[in-house]
Symmetry: C2
Subunit: 290 residues, 2 copies
């Protein structure tokens, strides 16, 4: 089960999930200009970041929207980034948040679990129901793949739908969480977690603690740290004795070089420094809890 | 407003939205082999279908999953298909069902409302909330673009989340529908409908009628006709005196050539025949209602 590999990576390297949301404006100008195409510039920016941070990152999560925005060239860079992570023995999450009916879901599985855009994990959106998640099960069971399904996201608008209370006084995100947990029972790894994980933002601590208790075998992909207001001590509450989740940071790491001495030249070095700082901050918050 | 163009297309050409879910296995073998690349084969298959059906189709809806499954080549065919529809003066819906937070949503808008993957409309998933729809508003207001947001889908699993009843005894899809309607008020066209439309499947007639009444200014993209069990008389109930919605058919049209005389040779001709049959069937069902 792929989740065992991720669990082990967290043990060895810490909780950082590095979000490769590589906007063209994030790439230092001199670096950008040294390449003949956008594809080369984006891929090589990612490559330098990956090389420098590799020992301190549990997994990399390219957000496909940033690559789609650059058209075919961007998607080539997306593909090369995923291949490069694989080559190095790293773990990737394709942050694609797809969700569609049976035959279409099969096509998404084909697109993102094999071939040019192959990732170890992908993110999925559950609005259309569980039959949009099920087509991915075969890949999870038999091809070392995993998914993270949106449960409680970190944005303000999460309240619009996820927070609606049902007649049974349970919020939509709780109901989705339980369906995910139940579907995940049959794809549990040796580590005790399922290869069907959940996206749970760390910006609402109370709900997070409750979700951590109820979804005890569900691995969390946790957005919201840093720019969105989530702190290390909040994040620690979403973990089970130190494992069971990864914490995403994108801009916080990719743009760590801003306003630093020779920042543009040493962007990857500053990314590494910020990764280590974040990793240690989370580790400390965990140790204080236990 | 782009919705006025779509409204007029329905008046002139009927209600068919042709879903270009171009699986490689749908392309007749002889046709497939006559091209040097998958990109050429897929694009040219679509082109023949578009040319033949153009006078009887309100809009074309390529489902991006099928193209992503073919990798970069597939996405090139997706891009060329959208450009070809635009060149001919047709209307396109990029069926991408994206949904993500602010900055990421902006990237999706950039990706699918301009540049290589530009479509007139795109589909969106609302699970993460209204702040994931709002970044598209500028394009809707100022750049003749529109969206269709998932409200009540046609699949079995739709019941898992969309059918949950809230404390106020209202189903999630009703709540989503109203939020869409409210957000759409400021982007209404002269035709009376908003450029923020809703995806409402025609497989649950009772709910559909209720939605049609409550969302009186919301244009519907209606899946579920044909293979999924929706009939023309059902579809008619989702329309307001004959307009206010388009009805998708994908495989029903693309594969109309199967088991036909010289089907593989004349696949586009059979697609046209099926399009006209469907269009007339819906028109007749509407006339019987009024």
């Amino acid at each position: 089960m792929i989740i065992d590999k991720l669990y082990k990576a967290v043990e060895e390297k810490g909780h950082v999930c590095l979000g490769l949301d590589t906007d063209i404006s994030y790439i230092p100008e001199g670096f950008l200009k040294s390449f003949e195409s956008i594809e080369e510039a984006v891929f090589n920016f990612n490559k330098e970041i990956i090389d420098e941070t590799f020992d301190h990152v549990a997994c990399y999560k390219p957000q496909i929207a940033y690559y789609e925005a650059l058209g075919i060239e961007g998607l080539k860079a997306y593909s090369r980034t995923l291949k490069y992570i694989k080559e190095k023995g790293g773990i990737s999450i394709g942050d694609i948040k797809r969700g569609d009916i049976a035959k279409t879901a099969e096509m998404y599985a084909k697109a993102h679990f094999q071939g040019e855009f192959e990732a170890d994990f992908i993110t999925l959106s559950p609005y259309m129901g569980m039959d949009t998640i099920e087509p991915f099960l075969d890949y999870i069971k038999n091809h070392e793949k995993g998914v993270f399904v949106l449960v409680r996201t970190s944005n303000k608008g999460a309240e619009d739908i996820q927070y609606i209370e049902s007649k049974g006084s349970r919020r939509i995100y709780n109901i989705v969480g339980e369906k995910i947990k139940s579907l995940g029972e049959e794809v549990k790894g040796n580590c005790g977690y399922s290869s069907i994980g959940a996206v749970v933002g760390c910006t609402h601590v109370d709900e997070g603690k409750e979700l951590r208790q109820s979804l005890d075998s569900t691995f969390f992909l946790i957005p919201g740290y840093g720019a969105q207001g989530g702190k290390a001590e909040d994040v620690a509450l979403y973990l089970n004795q130190g494992n069971g989740g990864i914490v995403n940071s994108s801009r916080g790491i990719l743009l760590a070089y801003k306003n630093k001495e020779q920042g543009e030249k040493y962007f990857a070095k500053y990314a590494k420094e910020e990764t280590i700082r974040m990793k240690e901050e989370i580790a400390e918050a965990i140790s204080k809890l236990s």
